[in-house]
């Protein structure tokens, strides 16, 4: 069995690196990565590059723990997405933004994972009901 954490690694998320991260599914993992990216963006906007960098380091750790999670290795498309995510994120923060990403694009990308996790955790009565034709409020024939 492969190690949960790579050799010679020094993780800020020590307990997650020891294996707990792998108990999360992909949506939860990326929602957590997104939290760190949001923090990094927020501190960058406040012109606090050192604090922004530490949040970005934590985001990288979580992406790398996700890349090392065996459940994603059986799906090559996931590895490609995660590896590209890592490179494009670094390109935005420390590279030349060759890929033309933006703060809004990052918030949108990670916001979708956060929303998916939040919806899944919400009590059933809080979730939006499935629409039936009778419930739609669209103006129909005879309505104004």
């Amino acid at each position: 069995m492969k190690e949960a954490a790579p050799r010679n690694a020094s993780f800020q998320h020590a307990s997650l690196a020891s294996g707990r991260w792998r108990e999360l599914d992909l949506l939860e993992q990326l929602a957590n990565v997104g939290s760190e990216v949001e923090r990094s963006l927020a501190w960058a906007a406040k012109n606090k590059p050192e604090v922004s960098w530490t949040a970005l380091e934590r985001a990288l750790e979580l992406i790398d723990l996700t890349l090392a999670d065996p459940k994603h290795r059986i799906k090559p498309g996931r590895l490609k997405e995660l590896a590209r995510l890592r490179e494009v994120l670094l390109d935005y923060f420390v590279g030349g933004n060759e890929f033309g990403s933006s703060e809004a694009a990052w918030r949108s990308y990670f916001g979708a994972f956060a929303m998916a996790v939040a919806l899944r955790r919400a009590p059933a009565e809080m979730r939006a009901p499935a629409e039936s034709p009778e419930e739609r409020c669209e103006p129909g024939p005879g309505r104004s």
Binding site: N8, L60, P76, R84, V94
Partner: protein
């Protein structure tokens, strides 16, 4: 994209360069397995391919090969965003550990023949 496990020629690399960036070929080297992925537009795609092939991320390092500069020292350029791994002590796009750089050069030397 190719995963190079047995030697290729400098001429092969030159052909790859001409079909993509013109002067350089992006590569990712696995310093434990002694193999490298080449000929992709992104280092991250080569990284993903090697991870799928059984590599560990901590062993993977992104470089650029410039066949036109061979055998000058600069023909291997240690520069890739995938190398930025703070948890491993590498906080730049380069490869900060000289011992790792030497291992990379030895692997490239063994996999690319003039």
């Amino acid at each position: 994209m190719d995963i190079v496990r047995t030697p290729i020629t400098l001429s092969d690399l030159q052909t790859m360069a001409e079909s993509t960036f013109g002067e350089l070929v992006k590569a990712v080297v696995d310093v434990e397995r002694g193999i490298m992925a080449v000929d992709a537009e992104l280092h991250s795609d080569e990284e993903a391919a090697l991870l799928s092939d059984g590599s560990m991320q901590a062993d993977l390092w992104g470089i650029n090969l410039r066949p036109g500069l061979y055998p000058e020292e600069d023909w291997v350029e240690f520069d890739s965003l995938i190398n930025l791994r703070p948890w491993q002590g590498n906080r730049s796009r380069g490869v900060e550990d000289e011992a790792v750089r030497r291992r990379i050069l030895a692997i490239v030397d063994s996999l690319v023949v003039p």
